[in-house]
């Protein structure tokens, strides 16, 4: 065990994967010589060789499509897209090919590959560098989508993704890369893809979130606890396949739910979860489900980030309303 940031945990996972399985290769823009714009692949090219870690031309569709070909031929490519806002040129490859080759070929050809993508805002970045469009990926049948919010989950989910016989998207919360530290096992271990993580047990209210928003969600939970509210906190971790029963079990217990995400409200993945609660928890719900999310706007530039991003305060206020209903 040693204390690591989320970024270090990811780097460690990739290092380990490259060392233990010769089929693992990395490709992406600036991931080699410069170690990635967020240094997640730092030193991996020096360590494992230029024939394992590839810098690529600036072509996202090419990166994902080439990774798919590699995967079909038996490698385990881990591709990086530099920011989620630049993943869209590859959306066609992901939804039409990566997600479908197994079905198209009735299991004859498969895509054991991983796509790592930094995402989310809150760092005053330029346009396109703060996107949270996880919902458009979680809606694709045939790909799995995981979003770690702690260093140990980051390493375990990434290693599970690399072991998975099917394609997995790993969305990495930029804002948390270096914001959180914790003890992480240096060896190889996996965090299963699917199950939610109940980060904190409670009986009065369930706060449901994922990615960078876990930070504000945790803070809100602590504030609520201080005022005597028993809060259950769920880190969804895997958006697809969704752990419906895990979420339902918690809300059946608490009877109250607030969902928190950074993406715009309409069509965001919070709608899916609220929908699940409307289907499964009607009789146990003591108050309306509420969503604390970004607004239906473009993610703004630095000066307006505060107007857009869900704050701890907004979460607490919404939770209190929900407790009063």
């Amino acid at each position: 065990m040693s204390v690591m940031t989320l970024a270090q945990a990811l780097n460690g996972a990739l290092d380990l994967a490259l060392a233990r399985d010769p089929a693992v290769v990395l490709l992406g823009e600036d991931i080699g010589r410069s170690g990635g714009v967020f240094r997640i692949t730092d030193r991996l090219r020096e360590k494992h060789g230029a024939d394992r870690v590839f810098d690529t031309p600036v072509a996202e569709s090419g990166i994902i499509g080439a990774a798919l070909g590699m995967a079909i031929a038996g490698l385990k490519p881990v591709a990086e897209i530099q920011f989620l806002g630049f993943s869209y040129p590859a959306y066609d490859q992901i939804i039409n090919h990566v997600a479908r080759i197994r079905n198209r070929s009735a299991h004859r050809f498969t895509a054991p590959m991983v796509v790592r993508i930094p995402f989310g805002g809150g760092i005053g970045a330029a346009e396109h560098h703060s996107e949270s469009t996880e919902a458009i990926y979680a809606h694709i049948p045939g790909v799995k989508v995981v979003i770690p919010s702690t260093p140990s989950d980051a390493k375990g989910l990434l290693l599970a993704a690399i072991d998975d016989p099917d394609p997995v998207l790993v969305l990495e919360p930029i804002r948390l890369y270096r914001a959180v530290k914790e003890e992480v096992d240096e060896g190889h271990y996996v965090v299963p893809i699917g199950p939610i993580r109940v980060e904190r047990d409670g009986v009065d209210l369930t706060l449901i979130s994922w990615g960078a928003m876990m930070k504000e969600t945790r803070a809100a939970a602590s504030l609520l606890e201080e005022s005597g509210v028993s809060v259950e906190v769920i880190d969804v971790r895997t958006l697809s396949p969704l752990d419906r029963s895990g979420i339902v079990a918690s809300v059946e217990k608490t009877g109250r739910a607030v969902i928190v995400h950074e993406a715009p409200l309409t069509g965001g993945f919070g709608g899916e979860i609220a929908g699940v609660l409307a289907e499964e928890c009607l009789y146990s719900l003591k108050a309306p489900v509420r969503r604390v999310t970004g607004w239906d706007t473009v993610f703004p530039l630095k000066r307006s980030e505060g107007h857009y991003l869900p704050s701890t305060d907004r979460i607490v206020t919404t939770a209190r309303q929900t407790l009063e209903d």
Binding site: V25, D51, F54, T56, P57, A59, S61, G62, G65, A66, A67, L68, G69, M70, A71, I72, A73, G74, L75, P77, P89, D92, Q93, N96, H97, I101, R102, N103, R104, S105, A106, H107, R108, F109, T110, P141, G142, K144, P165, D166, G194, P241, L242, D243, R244, S245
Partner: protein, 338 residues
């Protein structure tokens, strides 16, 4: 344009292909055309869904595929049934796909031919990745990807060509320029003098070949496959023509006149080889009818086997998504059964 056999069956200088090989290629083209015509009939009879005929492109497809070794990868299109078959993909499975059954997308082990891509352009880069993997694994397999003139306008063509050249990958890019992308003529698709010429902007070799000359296609592709194995990708532009409609639901009368089509009939890829074989004394009535009956037998049997495949179960719809169905899929399957 590289060509060996003229439309009248005469040969430009000497032929690097043996008479027996030519007879084999001829027989294969005949079988392919039987499949093509049969498929149009099946479609009209409602026994298969939309079909994209390749009549006129048999030489480009059979000649190119004949240059491959077992184990080489193929990533082709909805119009490449002849190419895929010559590379080992059973007719039967292609019919099954057209019947509307995903199991048609699963060729036998050892046949490294991907089920055809129906998105224009999306599959070329897969060939690049396949070749990249083979190069890293140190094998000598290559990947051939086939696509049309229209596909060269997609950004994916550009990215695939560039990656192949940048990483010096064993890929052969085969563009069957059949002069149309549905209704859009090659002359408008790009203002480039030739599609083969596009190879240069990737630092890649490009060659324009008479796509209706099976000997030229075999020879040019064999050369391209050879350089591919040395890490030098090539773009082959096969000049050919789609004699039929874009698909069974297309009406060519809306965008091209019969004269153009008829002018290409004289350049028919099968006819010219028959003339060549006749001249070379390699063709007889008996052999022709034998070739035809073998072909008809093969195709009829393939169609029969495909149509005999039992209906897919609902379970398969769910089980095909992942190695192991996810909990939501299992729950949905349960719901679907009540």
């Amino acid at each position: 344009m590289f060509s060996l056999v003229n439309p009248d069956g005469t040969v430009r200088d000497r032929l690097p292909v043996t008479l027996d090989e030519m007879k084999r290629l001829y027989a294969d083209m005949v079988e392919a055309r039987v499949y093509d015509h049969k498929s149009m009939v099946l479609q009209r009879q409602g026994r298969i869904a939309t079909y994209a005929p390749f009549e006129g492109q048999e030489a480009a497809q059979i000649g190119a595929a004949a240059a491959l070794r077992p184990g080489d990868w193929v990533a082709a299109t909805y119009r490449d049934a002849a190419l895929m078959w010559k590379a080992g993909y059973p007719w039967e499975l292609m019919v099954l796909s057209r019947i509307g059954d995903e199991r048609g997308g699963s060729p036998p082990e050892g046949v490294n031919v991907l089920p055809p891509s129906l998105t224009v352009g999306g599959h070329m880069i897969h060939a690049v990745g396949l070749a990249w993997a083979e190069k890293l694994k140190g094998g000598d397999r290559i990947a051939l990807t086939s696509f049309g003139d229209g596909a060269t306008s997609e950004g994916d063509f550009h990215e695939a060509m560039n990656f192949a050249a940048v990483y010096e990958l064993p890929v052969v890019f085969l563009c069957q320029n059949n002069q149309f992308a549905i209704s859009y003529p090659r002359s408008e698709q790009t203002k480039a003098a030739s599609i083969a010429g596009k190879a240069e902007s990737y630092g890649m070799a490009g060659v324009q070949v008479d796509g209706n000359d099976v000997a030229a296609m075999l020879t040019a592709t064999t050369e391209a496959v050879g350089s591919a194995r040395e890490g030098k990708p090539t773009l082959i532009e096969a000049l050919t023509f789609r004699m039929g409609p874009h698909t069974s639901s297309d009406d060519p009368a809306r965008y091209r006149d019969d004269e153009e089509t008829e002018s290409w009939r004289l350049k028919d890829p099968i006819l010219r080889i028959r003339l060549l074989l006749e001249k070379a004394g390699g063709w007889t009535e008996e052999w022709q009818s034998e070739v035809e009956s073998v072909a008809v037998g093969e195709i009829e049997a393939s169609v029969a086997r495909a149509e005999a495949v039992p209906q897919p179960t609902r379970e398969e719809l769910f089980s095909r998504m992942f190695a192991r169905p996810t909990p939501p899929l299992l729950e949905q399957l349960r719901r679907s059964q009540k």
